[in-house]
Symmetry: C2
Subunit: 440 residues, 2 copies
């Protein structure tokens, strides 16, 4: 089954799930090979070409908003018929305002510096060799994600800007919308002299296509899973293609002995309540035993905001008037993603660090303190992607940290850690220029 | 079987190979946990502490040279009895001069800048948040290597300098030497207030210990295989711990249309003949059809140096007086590692790039040309860790490129590419400092 044949006879995702595995493997591999070919042209494209194409794609999404919204209406209807929950339907829904948002994001991307060609290190060696280390694209990036059509446009844009071809496997619930978005993107790329195959979907391969991406060693350079815990763990555990693990956040907020209620309450509320479902929202509150008064005030404030506190015995005793749930070991490892929060009292900053090291997913940990020694010890003792001092955990975000667009927040140590932006979608290449040099 | 019990009752490697798997897993895991604990102290150590310890280890190796050479004599005797080849015995052999070489390397390492704490990026954000991205150690690095006792000292030193604890699994042929070297290193660390468990061997776990390292997810942060193709592929394909793939080099030297014999001959000889067994030695010579005269001269010069040329029909016809072997597809993919070399004529630079992309392992490719356009096209078209212009391929080496000590040459795109030195054994951490900041 060649890519061309498949494209001309679209297979509904539900049928394709039962397609013989070898056909899907061949479908994914042939598209990855076409993506590799396209990635070469993309790597050689100038910044001006890429930025013009990004702006043009934004404009084309609006020009084609009618067909995009019609495709989206089909997905929404299918979702409603199959009893999809209201929040999921909301994530699936596009409207003119949201398409304008996608266009704005593409224009912001165009305004960011081009990571490709950046000289990271370089020097003239004693023997006269000239040495440079350059940023170059990875090549082909695969992304497996859930039913959020905006991700298709985001990733296509980030891939284009960083010179990478992308292979997309979106959730089948958004299949019609994704197909139309990707059709518009590919058409615009062609109109701007860039290869359409730089952006491809394997949605028509159904669920087996995700599995086939995980085994496309040598064809896909990097696979990024975006979605819930199940999806991420499936990819991390089964992929033979390199993976960057993103977005699992069992995030801690620690109130040190001297933390004031005045500073701690707004930060705790912002960290927990502003957007509880995202990965940088706080999940556990650790309080130094000497900060009992502040701890109690923060607990009362959180409860008033509707947060259910899973409190250990000591912290529960601080607020007898607040209804709390007794905390168990399970609470320490839980990323609630909603208005629940674990609370634990610790006797020392070292105990807080011990708790964090035992239960954290390595995303973000925050401390509230005015002690220089505590700040220093906390930064030195935390082994997570981000350490935040006297501010909300919600700042661990590419946009908030001034890094621009991001693919996700990496919680692993290899290759990329923290917000994964354009630079993190590159690798490097050493260029050595001589004049007949041989090694002695 | 706890680490302590095992240490006090050393198990010969040959017996341990038959030990029940769960015991070996527990042995490796418990040492990895001790290494994690030690890595925290190491991460907090000052540069002065680390450098003093490096110098002291170098001195201690000489102080204990008698016991080290006695252990080495045991390994050599065992090797001779079991019919080990002369080159392997040579790699296994230590003498006073080689121990002095190890000490010198440790002193050079001490002189290199400390990668830890380096601020890679940083800025004050518009809202007043202060942002820094710092280099921090990975944590625990595992290395699986063959019977070269110098690797044990090299890796312990590189690990110490970069703030990482190391878990070593060396070849069983060097078990006695490694045990004594590691004993001396651990003793010296303790004497200098650093944790002995920052350097540990799992050699007493035998072959299953290597397998156990590959499954120690969350306990070992990075696994580096150093050795032949079989070892590397075994680790790359079976490890669930992140791996950096190093040292496979199917390296190409391309003579462009205008390449002169004067410049090409010394470079070709240096690239192929100086040290044929290493990964940056050239394996295939590609020659532009218009450079027939230069190509013939280079082939004659290589043949004179004892190189057997596996030539395609066109290049063989250039040198009827030289005895060549007809090249087949197999020659294009072979990393000979000895005085054999493939030769192929290409009609264009693009054909050369096509050949390289099809058969290269992504290590190093060199071009000889005086054409600016050719240089530009070659750099843009090669997707390997290093591109070398008008110089020998043998320069792809951490020491030669002024990067200092290296763990190996990474041929992968993720995390590290090319010579893998101290910086490549680190990850980064974002530090965000606020003054009560919340996200709006």
């Amino acid at each position: 089954m060649s890519a061309t044949t498949t494209s001309s006879v679209p297979v509904p995702a539900t049928d394709a799930a039962h397609a013989p595995e070898p056909d899907v493997v061949e479908l994914v591999n042939s598209r990855a090979r076409a993506a590799r070919e396209a990635s070469r042209a993309l790597a050689a494209a100038t910044r001006a070409q890429k930025d013009e194409a990004l702006v043009a794609i934004g404009a084309a999404l609006l020009t084609h908003s009618e067909s995009i919204l019609a495709a989206n209406a089909q997905d929404l209807r299918r979702g409603e018929e199959s009893g999809t929950s209201a929040p999921l339907l909301d994530r699936l829904r596009l409207d003119l305002g949201r398409i304008e948002g996608l266009r704005d994001a593409l224009e912001e991307l165009a305004a960011l510096p081009d990571p490709i060609g950046e000289v990271i290190r370089g020097q003239n060696l004693p023997n006269g060799l000239r040495l440079r280390q350059l940023r170059v694209p990875l090549g082909v990036v695969g992304v497996i994600y859930e039913a959020r059509p905006n991700v298709s446009v985001d990733i296509a844009g980030i891939g284009l800007k960083s010179g990478n071809a992308v292979l997309l496997r979106g959730g089948s619930a958004a299949a019609s919308t994704n197909a139309e978005l990707i059709r518009v993107i590919r058409e615009t790329l062609s109109l701007h002299g860039l290869p359409a195959d730089a952006v491809q979907t394997v949605d028509d391969g159904g669920r087996p296509a995700a599995r086939a991406m995980m085994t496309a060693v040598g064809l896909i350079d990097l696979l990024v899973p975006r979605g819930g815990h199940g999806l991420i763990q499936d990819v991390v555990q089964n992929s033979r293609v390199p993976v960057v693990q993103t977005g699992e956040g069992n995030v801690h907020l620690y109130l040190d002995a001297d933390a004031s209620a005045e500073r701690s309450i707004p930060i705790a509320i912002n960290a927990k309540v502003q957007r509880p479902s995202v990965c940088n929202a706080a999940e556990t509150l650790l309080v130094h035993a000497d900060a009992a008064e502040t701890g109690a005030a923060v607990m009362r404030a959180l409860a008033k905001e509707g947060v259910t506190l899973h409190a250990d015995q000591r912290s529960a005793a601080w607020v007898p008037e607040v209804e709390t749930v007794p905390a168990t070991e399970v609470d320490w490892i839980t990323e609630y993603g909603d208005l629940n929060m674990a609370v634990r009292v610790v006797d020392t900053l070292q105990d807080a660090l011990e708790h964090i090291r035992s239960y954290s997913t390595g995303h973000t940990e925050a401390i509230i303190t005015d002690s220089v020694s505590s700040q220093r010890a906390f930064i030195a003792g935390v082994d997570s992607a981000a350490v935040i001092v006297n501010a909300s955990t919600r700042f661990t975000d590419g946009g908030q940290l001034g890094l621009g667009a991001e693919v996700g927040i990496s919680t692993q140590k290899m290759h990329a850690r923290g917000p994964m932006g354009l630079a993190e979608l590159t690798t490097t290449q050493w260029i050595v220029e001589g004049d007949g040099h041989v090694r002695s």
